[in-house]
């Protein structure tokens, strides 16, 4: 098992926002997280990445057979977890190219990925300063591609993106998750989506519905999304009660 979350509880400030979450992702699998605003989806991703505002109050996270529950963020990143943020901070004065440079690899490979996402003109701009919604998503995705993690956490990769750019983003995510490989796929993903648009670009293996900090339903992601669309989140949760 690549990722194994057992009985995980997470608090933000004094408030517990996730209660006893169990979730496993195997190598090569893509999972989707559904849920209303405020249901705990972003908190789960932030806790998996190790952000200090998301305090783990119980349970365990195992990744590649290691207990990473208390591991610093950068060590999780080095071990193979990468995340695309929904609202990343603005880093004034820090150029996008300064961060890109830290990923290593060959210069020509970096340039190929940069031009693939039409990001060449962003290299001299401060990270996320004045970026539109779509530009933030592309910048996040570019960083992830160069970081090359094994477990890819995507927080609403399609929100605020126009229809032309959603194609570029959808195809990049598909490639990042090695959807072109039938066997020997090593990349796995956990994706938060509200619109479900991203499901048009990649086959997901499993869906999870978060409601009020609990996982309330698990199953075929397309079927779940259709239920949510036609009958709402509560109806989707009802099927397993």
């Amino acid at each position: 098992m690549l990722l194994e979350i057992s009985n995980l509880s997470v608090a933000v400030g004094d408030k517990e926002v996730l209660h006893g979450i169990n979730l496993t992702i195997d190598q090569g699998e893509t999972h989707v997280l559904f849920g209303k605003n405020g249901s705990g989806k972003t908190s789960l991703l932030m806790a998996l990445m190790g952000f200090s505002n998301y305090r783990i109050t119980g349970g365990q996270i195992r990744f590649k057979d290691q207990d990473i529950t208390r591991m610093p963020i950068n060590e999780r990143a080095r071990l193979g977890i990468g995340m695309s943020f929904q609202r990343p901070p603005t880093l004034r004065g820090v150029k996008t190219k300064d961060l890109i440079r830290t990923f290593g690899g060959r210069q020509e490979d970096r340039e190929k990925e940069i031009s693939g996402l039409n990001m060449a003109t962003f290299m001299d701009r401060d990270i996320n300063l004045g970026f539109s919604g779509g530009e933030i998503k592309k910048s996040e995705l570019l960083q992830l591609i160069l970081q090359d993690p094994e477990l890819i956490l995507l927080d609403e990769p399609e929100s605020g993106v126009d229809l032309e750019n959603i194609k570029i983003i959808g195809r990049s995510i598909k490639k990042l998750l090695q959807k072109h490989l039938r066997r020997q796929r090593t990349k796995s993903g956990l994706i938060i989506t509200h619109t479900g648009l991203i499901l048009n670009y990649l086959e997901a293996d499993m869906g999870h519905l978060l409601l009020d900090g609990h996982i309330r339903c698990e199953g075929n992601p397309r079927e779940m999304f259709e239920t949510i669309q036609t009958a709402g989140y509560e109806e989707c949760a009802r099927c397993q009660r």
Binding site: M83, L91, T102, F103
Partner: protein, 404 residues
């Protein structure tokens, strides 16, 4: 001349408006004499290396002119472009009938004891004049160097950019690597005439116990531009300065950038004042300060005298260690309806969210902090020659690495 002396005599004991009082008599006045040095051989290799750290290069072909003052002696003065005149100030005073139009016309000798000392006991300084319409292709460099222990150095500089000219001055102020104590008093008067552009970049590398009291005034005429970049990322005991830029002609523009770091024991009281006195004038004051244990007062004052004058002031401070303070004092003084002036000030620590964002990309906490600090100090400085911009970037990067 006698009026100047009279005014200075009256201010002999007048304390400065800001900054700790300095006992001028505790510094020696007997400087060792240094002969002229056309080939720059009087400075040792380690001293030249020190100079390179403040933007001063030994290669004359890279500069439109070079001036080096060691202690009280102008040891080197060379010019490389027609229409760009560079002299020691004493030579200029002798040659141009006391420079009556410019000498002590922007700065008053009676401002405080430091201007008084510069008027009463002038050691030397530089005179730069760019003739009308001449665009200096390369920067002029001036180095003010203290090599003798415990010395006070009284400087007076005059810079004249005639109508339509362009000039970039690099002033590197530094002391001998092993020097402990010294005082640098520097009066600078800039006259930026109609349509001219002057960029003045000052890099500093002082010793730990050096006291610095610059007194600068700039007069900017119609359609002219004055840009100042003040960089001090190494220590000093006490620096107090508050240059005044007067935008006296319509559409005159100025931008003052300051980046500085106060190490433990350092006391900085630095700022900038801009007086917007004509229609269409614009000003921006940007300061980025960091304390690693020293004290910083970061001032800024914009005075708007005419409708339509536009100005912005930004003081940002980062506290990286306890033991010191950063006090940001932005002031806006609007005198008429129709001025547009604004300010923002922020003092704090590095945002945890930003550090963790970079850590999620695999950087260690220290690498992330260093990258953020580098970005914080990365103020856009326009018009810098490539190698000087690289040098500043190198200094900023070295600082980022040194604190984390």
């Amino acid at each position: 001349m006698s009026e100047i002396i009279k005014e200075a005599e009256a201010a002999r004991n007048k304390q400065g408006q800001h900054g700790a009082d300095v006992d001028l008599d505790s510094f020696r006045r007997d400087a060792p004499a240094h002969g002229t040095d056309p080939d720059l051989t009087c400075l040792s290799d380690s001293e030249m290396e020190h100079l390179a750290g403040v933007g001063i290069v030994a290669a004359p072909q890279e500069r439109a002119g070079s001036f080096i003052l060691k202690d009280h002696s102008p040891v080197h003065c060379s010019m490389g472009q027609d229409g760009v005149e560079l002299l020691s100030i004493k030579t200029a005073l002798a040659k141009y009938g006391d420079l009556a139009e410019y000498w002590w016309k922007a700065v008053h000798p009676g401002t405080d004891k430091y201007t008084a000392q510069a008027a009463l006991a002038l050691d030397d300084g530089y005179f730069i004049r760019v003739r009308a319409g001449v665009k200096a292709a390369l920067p002029v460099q001036a180095c003010l160097f203290i090599g003798a222990e415990g010395l006070s150095q009284n400087i007076h500089n005059v810079v004249i950019a005639e109508a339509g000219s362009e000039l970039h001055i690099i002033t590197g102020c530094t002391t001998a690597p092993d020097l402990h104590r010294g005082l640098h008093v520097g009066v600078s008067e800039f006259y930026v005439q109609k349509g001219a552009t002057v960029t003045s970049t000052m890099l500093h590398n002082w010793g730990d116990e050096i006291v610095v009291r610059p007194r600068t005034s700039v007069i900017v005429e119609e359609g002219a531009t004055f840009m100042s970049n003040y960089v001090c990322l190494k220590s000093a005991r006490s620096v107090q300065m508050d240059p005044l830029v007067r935008l006296v002609g319509p559409d005159a523009v100025t931008r003052l950038n300051t980046i500085l770091v106060a190490a433990p024991g350092a006391d900085f009281d630095v700022g900038g004042r801009v007086s917007l006195e004509a229609a269409g004038t614009r000003a921006e004051i940007i300061s980025r300060t960091i304390t690693t244990g020293g004290n910083i007062i970061s001032r800024g004052l914009l005075t708007g005298h005419v409708p339509g004058a536009k100005a912005h002031l930004e003081c940002s401070g980062l506290i990286l260690a306890d033991g010191g303070y950063i006090r940001a004092i932005p002031e806006l003084d609007g005198r008429v309806a129709g001025v547009e002036m604004s300010h923002e000030a922020a003092v704090g620590r590095i945002s945890q969210e930003e550090i963790e964002y970079l850590m999620a990309r695999g950087l260690t906490e220290n690498e992330a902090s260093a990258l953020i600090v580098r970005g914080f100090l990365n103020v856009k400085m326009e018009g810098l020659p490539r190698e000087l911009a690289d040098e500043i970037e190198r200094i900023v990067e070295a600082f980022g690495k040194s604190v984390f």
